[in-house]
């Protein structure tokens, strides 16, 4: 699949790096790439669907919150950008999503339970639950030099 305009890709053995402008129109491309890599690694289609959704939620969060127009980004002089590094290592898929927007410590944030959101038929607040439910590890870090990084890990379980 040809990358859309504005996308930079770097590939090496077991690793792929993608940089896209910080715009929601690139989400579909990111999902396709991540799903293809997960499939190649041997994940079942139902696990691929979970990984695809978790990464989509993570990237959507970056665009909606980290790069929100009313927020103070780490580097306001830079255009919004999403940088993904997808690695296959030791039977696991690692997806790191890096941005230079507003810091938001997902590790410390405990949203109301998913079941409560659904019972109230809330129109939002599901994204973080989806990431935590569908991935084996979700870890957030922030660094003034390198920006914010959300690390999602999924283990390839042998059955």
């Amino acid at each position: 699949m040809e990358p859309p305009d504005g996308v930079r890709i770097k590939k090496s053995t077991g690793k792929m790096q993608i940089a896209t402008p910080g715009d929601v129109s690139y989400l579909g491309y990111i999902r396709t790439i991540v799903a293809d890599l997960a499939r190649q690694m041997g994940f079942s289609e139902s696990e691929v669907a979970k990984i695809e959704m978790a990464v989509d939620e993570a990237c959507s969060n970056v665009l909606e919150h980290a790069y929100a127009h009313d927020k103070q980004w780490l580097w306001q002089h830079r255009e919004p950008e999403m940088r993904l590094e997808i690695r296959t290592e030791d039977g696991r898929l690692v997806v790191e999503i890096n941005d230079h927007g507003e810091r938001f410590d997902l590790d410390r944030y405990q949203p109301p339970p998913l079941e409560d959101r659904l019972e109230k038929m809330a129109s939002g607040g599901y994204g973080l639950h989806i990431m935590r439910r569908f991935m084996d590890e979700v870890h957030y870090s922030s660094d003034p030099q390198t920006g914010n990084t959300l690390r999602l890990v999924k283990y390839l379980k042998k059955s």
Binding site: G28, Y29, K50, M53, D56, E57, L118, A122, S123
Partner: protein
């Protein structure tokens, strides 16, 4: 990866929206707007045919739940039809099928509003 689009059909007092492509952060507002436009014309019985839906993310799911809640206040509902298995498994795992009605057959979905 198909572009998202919606085809609209009227069946008596019910509107059937046939969805194709992906409902994500990029496209969900178009679906939300179409349904809200029907609400503003006092049409609150909506069926979303998902047969050609490739993907739905939390922005889309949240929107559907919010729309269904609003439609129910007015005696209607937003119901799903022919959700592809890959998507159904995901929304079932998350619990969305407990709050959104899902049908496999179009006639069954249309008749569900009669009861």
């Amino acid at each position: 990866m198909r572009d998202f689009h919606i085809e609209r059909e009227q069946r008596g007092a019910i509107y059937l929206l046939r969805l194709a492509g992906a409902v994500d952060m990029y496209s969900y507002a178009r679906l939300d707007e179409q349904v809200r436009q029907l609400f503003s014309q006092n049409h609150h019985r909506i069926i979303l045919d998902c047969q050609n839906l490739d993907y739905i993310g939390s922005a889309g799911l949240g929107s559907l739940v919010g729309l269904a809640k609003e439609a129910r206040v007015h005696g209607g509902d937003v119901r799903l039809l022919r959700v592809p298995e890959r998507i159904y498994k995901i929304i079932e795992l998350l619990g969305f099928t407990k709050v959104l009605q899902v049908f496999h057959d179009e006639t069954e979905a249309l008749n569900s509003f009669a009861s």
